[in-house]
């Protein structure tokens, strides 16, 4: 039904012409879910925007064709394209908060979509809108239809977006990371909803995602994109039972899970090449173990492997195939001292309670409190990793910041937290400085956590300067050099600014900064959730190695269960400000006691490699 034929989309930027999508050919049948997977910068979103022709002003479809049934969308005038957009093709985006108009009630927006694309008017259109809200699973649709977006939760907003997209009865739904901004339990509901509606309507769906777990749950067919090209294309069953392209296998190897605990993850060294250059070889060759001279000098075509499974790699060439080299399996800490877990607790938190004051009235008096964290207790031994798991708003970040004493002055913190012999909550200025030398933090966003106006050298030296004033300039310099070596960054990084580094490199800088004062505890606040899978693997490996070498303990705050399985020794599950369950990682994951833990674990989309899935829906 939808057919892309050698699609090539160019973006004109200050660096030159960026070929964001190059020679992508694929076809989607009615009733089929096609998942386009890739890391950031692989061109998957640009492909979607090219189909609906919503490209920014500086981008254009340079060659190739987009065909929907018999119409060639690339050549249509804008006025006719508008009828297709919304009518035949609908889109849902990543961020439900910004895709809805904040000053219109959801009913009005829904009715507007219905009257634009169907014959229904007035009361009939409104009735249809109520009907749709009911079908996307919004409780009390008659009342909810007059709500404004701010009155709805993120999941509800995404449901409304789906209702709006589907109300026009499109033949093709493009879902661009529809669940990335949502919690994992909500993600499951939204994916189930999309699948139900798709089956009911026989609609085709193009799902764009970076999450291989989601793909293995919902897709019928899979396309892997790398650096603007489709490198592998096949049915879900065929792909997950035997991924062919070296990039695809290594991407799966980079996913953290419980089976890989003993080893380092498969981190793909290097980065995606910039797309403003011309390629004369395979684009993955610089990062590939199997790459030969042929890979570097000749552009691989898409080889058909039977059953619609195609792969762009010389390893599958009919003649003179390049032999595949398997990446070496790396163990952690081979030849190093085994990690020592002490008996005495490094950090003991008891009955921690954090309340944020609500101010109101003319004089801004405190009129009440919002409880963010209730009576949280846990302890952490030296060299141990405790994962604090929970969905957004469960109070995990607040707990971390309260322990680090970053909430002094903004929130009321009760309870007790002992770091060694220091009572953190009642520590005076000098004691607090002593405590700060022992605990540090790594943040989620590697772009926001480094001051853009400071050189990397200054950033790394700042902590030493503040907490170890006894060290002189030469000593400080020596420490900064050591830090760079620990996180494997070149010495030349010192004089550069943060914006000159990629996301993964910045996160390394942030880790080095935290290590600068030789802390015994690092609070890791979602350190990998803004990163791509392959980069996430690099960072997790680094964290694991550092723990082996330095014996540092991590309080690891995350919502990513895969990371928890891979890294954590013990797990504490948080819900609505309370810890509902704590336990050793292995026992908690295999035999969860609390109902919420079970829901959470069941909602996690998992990748099953090497097993043919019986449930695959083949196109009718």
């Amino acid at each position: 039904m939808l057919q892309l034929d050698q699609l090539r989309t160019e973006i004109h930027s200050s660096q030159g012409i960026v070929v964001a999508v190059d020679g992508v050919s694929l076809a989607i049948q009615p009733g089929e879910t096609f998942a386009l997977v890739g890391e950031s910068g692989s061109g998957k979103s640009v492909t979607a925007l090219s189909i609906s022709r919503l490209l920014p002003d500086n981008a254009c479809i340079a060659a190739g064709d987009v065909r929907l049934d018999d119409a060639s969308l690339a050549d249509l005038p804008e006025s006719e394209m508008r009828a297709y957009r919304g009518g035949r093709i609908a889109m849902i985006f990543q961020e439900p908060a910004t895709s809805l108009n904040a000053v219109m009630s959801v009913g009005r927006q829904l009715v507007e979509a219905i009257t634009t694309h169907t014959e229904l008017r007035g009361a009939a259109a409104r009735a249809k809108a109520v009907d749709w809200l009911k079908r996307v699973g919004i409780a009390e649709p008659e009342r909810r239809i007059d709500s404004y977006p701010f009155q709805l939760s993120g999941g509800q907003k995404q449901r409304v977006m789906i209702a709006m997209a589907l109300a026009t009865e499109p033949a093709l739904l493009i879902a661009d990371e529809p669940t990335t901004a949502l919690d994992v339990t909500v993600q499951k509901q939204i994916l189930d909803l999309l699948l139900d509606l798709q089956r009911e309507r026989g609609m085709a769906m193009l799902l764009i995602t970076h999450d291989l777990g989601v793909v293995s749950q919902v897709a019928d067919r899979v396309g892997i994109m790398y650096a603007g090209e489709l490198v592998e294309l096949g049915s879900k069953a065929a792909f997950f039972s035997k991924p062919l392209h070296p990039y695809a296998t290594r991407l799966l190897g980079a996913l953290p899970d419980v089976d890989k605990r003993g080893h380092l993850l498969e981190a793909i060294a290097g980065s995606v090449p910039p797309l403003y250059q011309a390629f004369d070889g395979c684009r993955f060759a610089p990062r590939c173990y199997s790459a030969t001279a042929r890979c570097r000098g000749e552009i691989p075509p898409m080889y058909e492997m039977g059953g619609g499974h195609g792969v762009r790699c010389f390893a599958y060439a009919p003649e003179a195939a390049v032999p595949l080299v398997l990446p070496p399996l790396r163990d952690i800490g081979a030849g190093r001292v085994a990690r020592q877990l002490g008996d005495k607790a490094l950090l003991a938190v008891e009955n921690l309670r954090v309340r944020f004051p609500i101010r109101s009235g003319l004089l801004q008096r405190v009129s009440g409190h919002v409880d963010a964290v209730h009576e949280v207790s846990f302890s952490l031994r030296p060299g141990e990793t405790l994962a604090l798991v929970g969905e957004s708003g469960s109070g995990k970040t607040t707990t971390g910041k309260a322990i680090l004493q970053l909430l002094r002055g903004t929130a009321v913190v009760d309870g007790q937290a002992m770091l060694g012999d220091i009572d953190l909550m009642r520590a005076g200025k000098a004691e607090l400085m002593r405590a700060r030398r022992q605990m540090q933090i790594i943040f989620q966003d590697p772009f926001g956590s480094l001051n853009p106006r400071m050189r990397v050298g200054e950033i790394l030296a700042e902590g030493i300067q503040s907490l170890r004033p006894e060290l002189d300039l030469a000593e400080r310099r020596r420490r900064v050099d050591d830090l760079l070596e620990q996180v494997s960054l070149p010495q030349s990084a010192l004089t550069r600014f943060p914006h000159e580094f990629s996301g993964g490199q910045r996160q390394r800088i942030a880790i080095a900064r935290a290590l600068a004062v030789e802390p015994s505890l690092i609070v890791c606040d979602e350190p990998t959730s803004a990163l791509d899978v392959s980069v996430q693997a690099q960072i997790l490996n680094l964290l694991k190695e550092l723990q082996q070498q330095l014996g540092v303990a991590y309080l690891f705050i995350t919502h990513n269960i895969g990371v928890v399985e891979y890294l954590a020794d013990r797990i504490a599950v948080m819900q609505a400000g309370r810890i509902v369950e704590t336990g050793e990682s292995a026992s908690l994951l295999t035999a969860p006691q609390h109902a919420y833990t079970r829901t959470l674990l069941a909602a996690v989309p998992r990748v099953v490699v090497g097993e043919a899935d019986a449930e695959v829906l083949l196109p009718a």
Binding site: H12, S14, D57, N58, K401, L404, L406, L432, M433, R436, M439, Q440, I441, F443, Q444, D445, G448, S449, L450, N451, P452, R453, M454, E462, G463, S466, L467, F497, H499, A510, R513, V517
Partner: protein
């Protein structure tokens, strides 16, 4: 000759040095250099900067003051303080007429009482300087003006051609290309920097200046005012006043706005309340009244302390100086509010929290982490404020509380034009002159500030 450095001259010199130092810093910091290059990468921005640069040079020449020695006496200097610009425009300064004369006129604008053939009568009298070289002005005037205009155009084109040749030569040397190749890439605008636009702007400016210069040797190009002063001289002298007011008031504004804004945003609590209270109060006082009151107090002070201000130039300069301070003190609230808002946003940034986790002191966070990150806001509002302040001076002088009436400024020019417009026949050239010059100054400042904002605003999209 005794070199005189007036208070505002100090300011001008310090600003110049500061700008040079900043430029040196920009060259050494790659991220700043890239952003600034972006600001100079649009044809509009660079052309505006070129025009602005010409105004700046005129203002600078007018800021180099001295008192000439009295001939024959040692250690005695004239009471008159002159600037380098005065020397360049010596002919215009001294070539005073009796009263009004139209641009390029050779006779007075109004009939004057005179004695012709022993009979008292009223007639249009020949000007003393304008067109004085013509024997039979009725026949010769048009040809003479045309000839001088053409000569001026030629001169301007010659200068422009020389500048272009120099640019081509430098380009060819820098790129190690032949002259022809360099010229062709310049003509097609393929040199990365909008050099073509700059050269075109320079050509237009050179032609205009050439024509003015050729005509000014024999005529009053822009006419004369009520007491016969050449308007070209007056308006060129006004440029310095406008520039001083624009830059110095901004300089006064900056530390107040930035300091208070950052403190209010980061420290919150009672500091924030107090600062907000102060700027709300200042904002609600009509600033014209405030300035009028302060200027009156100042005038009394200057009159009572003649020993502090020995020459009239120093008196008028002191008034200008304090006017700038008052303007600056009343116009910091907008920027302060802007910076406070930005800092409230930034204080939640993770790098600030990381610094707090290191126990970094409050002062260091304010200066090292927050100040550099609001610098782009400061720069943007500095250039936008500049033109606003130039206009404010015009308004204040129009109301009569601006600069000293003896000091040439756009405001005083417009104020006199107000009366002249209601005369019959109308004197139109004062207003036209003031308007044209002020308009080109403010417009080029605005266009340049637009380019800077586009380059520095992180939210602006760069296509």
């Amino acid at each position: 000759m005794k070199i005189v450095v007036l208070w505002t001259d100090w300011v001008v010199l310090l600003v110049l040095l500061g700008t040079l130092a900043y430029g040196w810093k920009v060259m050494r910091q790659p991220h700043l250099a890239v952003t600034w290059r972006k600001a100079f990468n649009t044809a509009t921005g660079t052309s505006a900067a070129t025009v602005l640069a010409v105004f700046l040079v005129i203002g600078l020449l007018d800021s180099l003051h001295y008192r000439p020695a009295i001939a024959g006496k040692a250690d005695a200097y004239a009471t008159e303080t002159r600037s380098v610009l005065d020397d360049i425009l010596h002919q215009q300064q001294t070539g005073r007429e009796r009263s009004y004369s139209a641009p390029l006129a050779y006779q007075g604008y109004e009939k004057e009482a005179t004695v012709i053939d022993g009979q008292a009568t009223r007639a249009y009298l020949r000007l003393q300087h304008g067109g004085a070289h013509l024997d039979q002005p009725e026949q010769q005037w048009a040809a003479d003006v045309l000839l001088r205009t053409l000569a001026g155009v030629g001169l301007g084109l010659l200068v422009a051609a020389a500048a272009t040749a120099l640019a081509v030569l430098l380009l060819a040397r820098k790129r190690r290309q032949g002259l022809g190749v360099a010229w062709r890439s310049l003509r097609r605008g393929q040199v990365g920097f909008p050099l073509r636009a700059v050269l075109l702007t320079l050509t237009v400016l050179a032609v205009l200046a050439g024509v003015m210069a050729m005509l000014a040797t024999a005529y009053h190009v822009l006419g004369t005012d009520r007491v016969g002063n050449d308007l070209l001289y007056v308006v060129l002298k006004s440029i310095r006043t406008a520039l001083v007011i624009g830059t110095m008031s901004t300089l006064v504004t900056m530390p107040i706005a930035v300091g208070l804004g950052i403190c209010a945003g980061y420290l919150r609590g009672w500091v924030d309340e107090a600062i907000q209270y102060v700027y709300t109060v200042i904002n609600s006082i009509p600033y014209v009244l405030l300035i009028a009151a302060v200027v009156l107090i100042l005038m009394v002070f200057i009159d009572n302390h003649p020993d502090l201000f020995p020459t009239s130039a120093e008196r008028t300069d002191a008034r200008l100086f304090f006017l700038c301070i008052i303007l600056g003190m009343t116009s910091w609230t907008e920027l302060c509010r802007l910076i406070r808002g930005e800092v409230i946003k930034l204080r939640e940034a993770e790098y600030i929290q990381a610094a707090q986790a290191f126990g970094v002191g409050t002062w260091r966070i304010l200066l090292v982490h927050l100040l550099p990150n609001v610098m782009h806001l400061i720069l943007i509002s500095m250039v936008i404020n500049f033109s606003g302040l130039v206009l404010a001076e015009a308004v204040l002088s129009y109301v009569g509380i601006g600069v000293d009436p003896s000091m040439q400024s756009f405001g005083t020019l417009i104020n006199t034009a107000r009366l002249e417009l209601s005369r019959e026949p109308t004197i139109w050239w004062t207003l036209a002159t003031a308007f044209t010059f002020m308009f080109s100054l403010v417009l080029s400042a605005n266009l340049f500030s637009d380019a800077i904002r586009d380059a520095f605003d992180p939210r602006a999209t760069h296509k």
